[in-house]
């Protein structure tokens, strides 16, 4: 279980970093950021995993629950991820309006 999840996390991280380094289309960069965020969220949620634990809604009987703190952190991170994605997309729209392209190498004064 843990090996599968950590492999997924590492794979997604690798894909996202590679994409961030090689892609030049701004929308694709935003997508790479989202993939990276998903990898991080998966790692955070897995950090609170307890073998055989139930969802942290306290019932009557004593039982093992998965840790609720990473869930709350992940919830916060999801909202912030959505906000930052919206901001990035708004800036992409703005750049397209003013510079006429969303490809980095065609946006003038950005060459380097």
């Amino acid at each position: 279980m843990g090996a599968i999840i950590m492999t997924t996390v590492l794979g997604l991280t690798g894909i996202a970093i590679y994409g961030l380094l090689t892609r030049r289309h701004l929308i694709r960069l935003v997508i790479c950021f989202n993939v990276l965020e998903i990898a991080v969220l998966l790692a955070i949620v897995y950090a609170g995993f307890v073998e055989g634990g139930q969802a942290p809604i306290v019932g009557g009987a004593e039982a093992a629950y998965v840790s609720a703190l990473p869930h709350a952190v992940a919830l916060t991170a999801i909202v912030i991820a959505a906000s930052s994605t919206a901001l990035m997309l708004a800036y992409v729209v703005r750049i397209y309006r003013t510079r006429g392209s969303v490809r980095i190498e065609r946006v003038r004064r950005w060459r380097g």
Binding site: L10, T22, A68, L69, I80, S83
Partner: protein, 230 residues
């Protein structure tokens, strides 16, 4: 060349991660984490431990999160201020129009239910807020005719609700500071925690859930509708 270096870098990064895992670095820290599940009912009265963490133990972080959404709404509204849409000029069929009209009330009720029962069942202010925002998105997509944007609520009302929600959050926080000795204090203010599992329990958590739900619902609706209008 550049692609090669990027590939090398990504593979090296993933390799470091794999080596860390194989070397047996223990990432499980359950023992070190405070056991919220077995204390939250006693401390906060909330059966949903995630809600208890979000709005009681870590209330200040949640306020920061809500502020982040507020800032995003502001910046997106500044960057994309157009009232006419160019994206949504597609004419939809009658089935879609009536189907959405049929579904919308149920989705709104679901959103409010998820918010109001956030402390006794899965869900909460943020989840329910996103459901509520989805009604606004439905509405904007389906009932935008000829590029003229349509809203569930007028834009000014939405912004007023958003500001009122964040002000209410702060008010609850400072109320806790005055009566309970800590910002966003819950049980320490002397508010009755109620029977755990009932609708009126968990002190101030349902109120904060409602406020956060309004905040997130309206904030995300503003963001999405503003992005549509470009």
């Amino acid at each position: 060349m550049r692609t090669g270096w990027a590939l090398l870098f990504s593979v090296a990064l993933v390799g470091c991660g794999i080596v860390t895992l194989i070397a047996g670095v223990d990432l499980d820290t359950h023992g070190a984490i405070f056991d919220y599940a077995h204390h939250s009912v006693q401390h906060t009265g909330a059966v949903n431990v995630v809600s208890a963490v979000l709005f009681d133990y870590r209330g200040l972080d949640t306020l920061g999160e809500a502020t982040g959404v507020l800032a995003t709404g502001l910046v997106v509204a500044v960057l994309a201020p157009k009232a006419r849409t160019s994206m949504l000029s597609v004419r939809l069929s009658l089935v879609v129009l009536y189907g959405v009209a049929l579904v919308l009330p149920f989705v709104s009720v679901l959103g409010f239910a998820v918010i109001l029962f956030g402390h006794v069942s899965p869900g909460g202010g943020f989840t329910g807020g996103v459901v509520l925002a989805s009604t606004a998105v439905f509405f904007a997509v389906v009932y935008t005719v000829g590029g003229q944007q349509s809203y569930v609520l007028p834009m000014d009302t939405q912004k007023r609700i958003e500001n009122a929600a964040i002000a209410a959050f702060l008010l609850v926080g400072f109320g806790g500071l005055v009566t309970g000795g800590a910002f966003l204090a819950n049980a320490a203010t002397g508010i009755p925690l109620g029977e755990p599992g009932s609708l009126l329990s968990a002190g101030l958590i349902p109120l904060l859930n409602l406020v956060a739900g309004m905040k997130v619902g309206v904030g995300l609706a503003i963001v999405v509708v503003c992005l549509f209008s470009e």
